[in-house]
Amino acid sequence: MMLPRRTTLLGGAALATIGVAGTARAQLTIDMTRPSFEPVPIAIVDFKGDAVGAQMAGVIRNNLQNCGLFRVIPSSAYIQKDVDATSPPRFQDWRSVGAAGLVVGQVTSVGGSIKVDFRLWDVVTSQQATGLSFTSQPSNWRRLAHIISDAIYKRVTGEEGYFDTRVAYVSETGPGNNRTKRIAVMDQDGANNRYLTDGKTIALTPRFSPTLQEIVYMAYGENNGPPRVYLQNVDSGRRELLGNFPGMSFAPRFSPDGTKVVMSIAENGRTNIYEMDVRGRQLRRLTNSPAIDTSPCFSADGSQIVFNSDRGGAQQLYVMSAGGGGERRISFGDGRYATPVWSPRGDFIAFTKIGSGGFGIGVMRSDGSGERMLASGFLVEGPTWAPNGRVLMFFRQQPSSGGRVGSASLHQIDITGRFERQVPTPTDASDPAWSPLIPQ
């Protein structure tokens, strides 16, 4: 209902590029593979026309500033106060305030719709870097601002953006010994927060489909009923039980093509990993050990599954073939390893590590080499990847004291370990799950 159809959202074609892109645009690009770089200074002028234009510019500023790759120049510094959205700006004025890029836009009411034109000017070369035009329902203005943010990010970094996405998470309220835990979903920047479960029973571990706006999660039944896995559409709210097993089923996660869900089923003290075909609901057992095998996650190409197991004593990470078999350990550092999550790019596995000094979030290459810790704390847990594989979100829990439960909050961090920031949520929050880019 929130989602526009591709035809209406992208009703207009990309604007023709004005002029030919030059070669001297070094200052409006970032090479994220370099060990260090300066954030790109960028000015984002309130979009002209409709009042929503100023709000759109605000959303774009917030996105770009928060990702750490940009330095948004405050509007109080601007020399050219009135910038036309369609003709070139006075480039010298923008060079004077130190901008490498300038974003301008125009919002026009067309019948019941809004038409949004935006351009990114390369101030260094005095040329248009990119420009797009959209027509959509007025209520979609935030999404349009995120799509524009993604276009700017892509033009500057050469990588896909992640702003037009959502995050599902566990909202936590109430006393520590009887906490209400509900599944909530919000836009990546914290806007449009809403709840997908009613909080009557504990719901945990939401995981987004890589292809659809659907999640799987675990929820307890009423009256002490065993935890089960549910599939729920984020937009329609339609919810289905995914298999009714005698034992607890939990730790669900989609395959990259969205057709399968892997999960754990616990029975008689053993926890093994199973795969369920979402459409046919056929169940297939993938591990068969007396240990705890859980937190399974497919590789980006769907050919392998990484999971954690205590089969060798302490919890470690193992990789097996997607159909089961060929299990091999990949983590060998000190401490216990948990919640492995394969990057959508396929290059890294993010994980939670538990050592004597506390918890950490780290990444390693998919063969287990090159381990790097990104964040640490009393309790940090549950990494999830942005769809471009450049940013992780996770949660931090503070220690409890005096019978009061420590607060829990969502945080995001660049895979280089830079730019950690708290993601705003209306309540305490844990266990984030990042969506794919929303289909346009």
């Binding site: 006393p175 010994n177 906490r179 939990f250 003290g269 549950g382 844990s430």
Partner: protein, 153 residues
């Protein structure tokens, strides 16, 4: 009138409470306050929970003694259905702790079955680290949270 009556009854209760506090909380002192065969009786005089070492589901000697008392009591009062809740301290990940809680609940269940409680009376559920009791982040709180609780209905 009725108000004064109620007040004097309250005062009497305080006296009793003060007395039992002064005694060293012996089982016999407690039995006077609960109906034998009630859930309160089970909790106070038998003990509804056993504790585990870090990342372990082995039933310790102190746990075996509690479970022996539970089995004896549950045989005497055969009308109760039993759900064993498995719990963990907060120093594990959420999903792993759900599995560890199930393992602890199952360990307690198997022990009670071995003592002669019919398997059909015994269900298990794991709460992982989601229902701490007490709420706390020190060694003492963690030790109390690594537990299997026998709940009756």
């Amino acid at each position: 009138m009725s108000m004064i009556k109620a007040l004097s009854a309250l005062a009497a209760m305080f006296l009793i409470a003060a007395c039992s506090n002064n005694e060293t909380q012996t089982a016999s002192a407690a039995t006077t306050t609960v109906t034998p065969g009630s859930v309160g009786d089970f909790r106070q005089n038998v003990g509804d929970r056993v504790f585990f070492d870090t990342d372990s589901s082995n039933v310790r000697e102190d746990g075996r003694q509690t479970l022996n008392r539970q089995a004896e009591w549950l045989k005497k009062y055969g009308n109760y259905q039993i759900t064993i809740e498995g719990h963990c301290d907060e120093r594990g990940t959420r999903e792993y702790n759900l599995a560890l809680g199930e393992r602890r609940a199952n360990a307690a269940r198997q022990y009670l079955i071995a003592q002669g409680i019919p398997a059909s009376r015994l269900k298990t559920v794991s709460y992982g680290k989601e229902r701490p009791d007490p709420v706390g982040s020190d060694e003492a709180a963690w030790a109390r949270n690594r537990r299997a609780v026998t709940a009756l209905e």
